[in-house]
Amino acid sequence: MSILINKDTRLLVQGITGKQGLFHSELMLEYGTQVVAGATPGKGGQWVLERVPVFDSVDTAVKTTGANTSLIFVPARFAVDAIFEAADAGIDLIVCLTEWIPIKDMIIVRHYLDQKGVRMVGPNCPGLITPGEAKVGIIAGNIAIPGDIGIVSKSGTLTYEVLFALKQEQMGVSTCVGIGGDPIQGTNFIDVLQMFEEDAQTDKVVLMGEIGGNAEEEAAEFISARMTKPVVAFVAGQTAPPGKRMGHAGAIVEGGTGTAQEKIAALKAANVRVARHPEEIPDLLKQV
């Protein structure tokens, strides 16, 4: 098993005819992901990559192809509408890569999705990969091998760094979930930790946090109270000055909360081994 995505995932790509959408759809197909449909308003009836039909609406795409997961590749101004469209069409899992979505829009979207019982991963995230089965998003397929380590991360390239470091040691991954670094997320650390705790394939978990908010502190509480599987963590941004936005909307330290030091202290108090830098993670995993 794995979490959220696997070889049976039937993927729809919203924005498949755009440059990025097309490029990554091809990589996902090469990896083995079942990309069953694309949706771009006005381009219905076309085929892309020789085997993926494009529909005008998500609703038609779902009804025709049985897609159950949607990957959103559209710009910020249209992304929120795309999320509503996917949720209304009956998609179970929405993965939104789009960055720079206004916080207010995400608050409204998240409430709607919660009412409908639809899960979203993102926005502003690299997506997910279940090595050897499927990838949904832009995580490079060649940097991870199948195994028993679950990874949940706020960051993109930092996650690749860890996947790669694990691969060098022949350590494999059950599923890697990039939840994104925005202040309002569809899926947070606790949601994913819970899934890993329940997943038979996952034996150990890596949590990659960064400054801003208090998601790491909440995760630490959850780990301490509910998790039996060992967790190794890293928190980026120990040298970040307060009040500055560090690329991610979420990576900003407000006032006295959200600093790396506070997060590391909370995680350590929950018996989490915290790496001083990402290259220590494989060794820490061997020790737990």
């Binding site: 980026a236 040298t239 690329g247 830098h277």
Partner: protein
């Protein structure tokens, strides 16, 4: 984006929050004229995008228009926490009977907007939150429904306003909520919201921050941006699709991805060095981007070495290597350059850089140590 006090109060007023009828001055003469119009006595307030203005001497009371001019002369040009005062707000003196705090922000954990109010207004609210959190009343606002009247009434009662002020408080809270929500703010606060001697509510200080991601739909707010108060290199970086923040160290950093960029800074510090900046070149790394990044990093005279850390995923390291070599033809780089490639085509990237004066590193820790040594600090763990 943070707004000045005078800008925030103008917006609040437009939504119906009662505020003093002061005006902004950029010269002592203007300040004196405004004070005269207000009847002579006035408070002169430095307009800078940072807190602690009062403690720094940026807020003074004048008894006459002449004094207002003199005080404005003192305050204009003053440096407060690295910000130069270019404008002062001249407000009429208020008759303060009581001071309360009222603000809206987003609660990340609850994923809802939050109203915060306190009877302990007029002071540092973060200090109140740390030391006596029970003095801050909090109510979540449903994003689809907005602020209910009963919620404002309950808050008014909880902060012990007399019942005859509950209606007025509801009006102010409703107006501030609308200003907050309709402008895509991440913070809108009135501190203090005062009760005047004759029993009215008046917002005498205000602060507002707007979500940068939403600026595209608020051109009128974009026009309020105080460019003089921003770091030039950070603006220059933004134009090239880079994200740059200047720090105080001597090792320049160029990295792809925000999380990895912060981690690179952290590891430099861990091994005994000091990062000079945060710089995220984002996805892809063509010649133009790398050249712009070099120029921005080198504009900081403290930089003694540069560490380039690229993790190839979809971005291929060999492409980045070509970008670096081409950029070095455009921009003269005379300080040591340490390059670390990881992931996709890292080996090919390293081969392309062979024969160049670049220092190659295999791992993140190796790169940090080499950059620290190159900057002349020795390095240690």
């Amino acid at each position: 984006m943070n707004l000045h006090e005078y800008q925030s109060k103008e917006i609040f007023a437009r939504f119906g929050v009662p505020v003093p009828r002061g005006e902004v001055a950029t010269s002592p003469a203007e300040a004196a004229a405004i004070a005269k119009k207000l009847g002579g006595r006035a408070v002169i307030k430095a307009q800078v995008l940072t807190g602690g203005r009062g403690k720094a001497g940026g807020i003074k009371v004048a008894q006459t228009p002449e004094e207002a001019g003199k005080l404005a002369e003192q305050i204009l040009g003053m440096e407060i926490k690295g910000h130069t005062v270019r404008k002062v707000l001249v407000d009429p003196l208020a008759d303060i009977a009581d001071e309360i705090y009222l603000g809206f922000t987003n609660d990340r954990s609850a994923r809802m907007p939050l109203l915060m109010a306190s009877a302990a207004g007029g002071v540092d609210i973060e200090e109140v939150a740390r030391t006596t959190p029970e003095k801050i009343i909090k109510t979540h606002i449903h994003p689809h429904l907005g602020l209910h009247e009963y919620q404002a009434r309950d808050v008014a009662a909880a902060i012990e306003l007399p019942p005859e002020l509950w209606g007025a408080f509801g009006g102010v809270a409703g107006a501030l909520w609308n200003a907050y929500w309709e402008n895509d703010a991440t913070l809108a606060e009135i501190n203090p919201l005062i009760v005047t001697g004759d029993g009215r509510l008046l917002g005498i200080d205000g602060k507002m921050s707007i979500d940068d991601n939403a600026m595209y739909r608020h051109p009128e707010l974009e026009a309020l941006r105080d460019k003089a108060d921003e770091v030039e290199e950070e603006n220059e970086a933004r134009r090239h699709g880079l994200s740059y923040i200047k720090l105080d160290g001597d090792i320049g950093c160029m990295v792809n991805g925000a999380g990895l960029a912060m981690t690179t800074m952290d590891i430099i510090k861990l091994f005994g060095g000091e990062p000079a900046n945060f710089l995220d070149i984002g996805g892809g790394a063509g010649v133009e981007k790398v050249a712009a990044a070099f120029r921005i990093i080198l504009s900081d005279e403290n930089v003694k070495a540069i560490l380039i850390n690229i993790f190839g995923g979809i971005t291929r390291c060999d492409e980045v290597a070509r970008g670096i070599l081409a950029a070095m033809d455009e921009v003269e780089v005379t300080i040591p350059l340490v390059v670390r490639f990881g992931g996709t085509n890292a080996e090919e990237g390293r081969q392309l850089l062979e024969g160049s004066p670049l220092i190659s590193a295999e791992t993140l820790s190796d790169a940090a140590r080499k950059a620290i040594a190159a900057a002349g600090k020795g390095g240690s763990e």
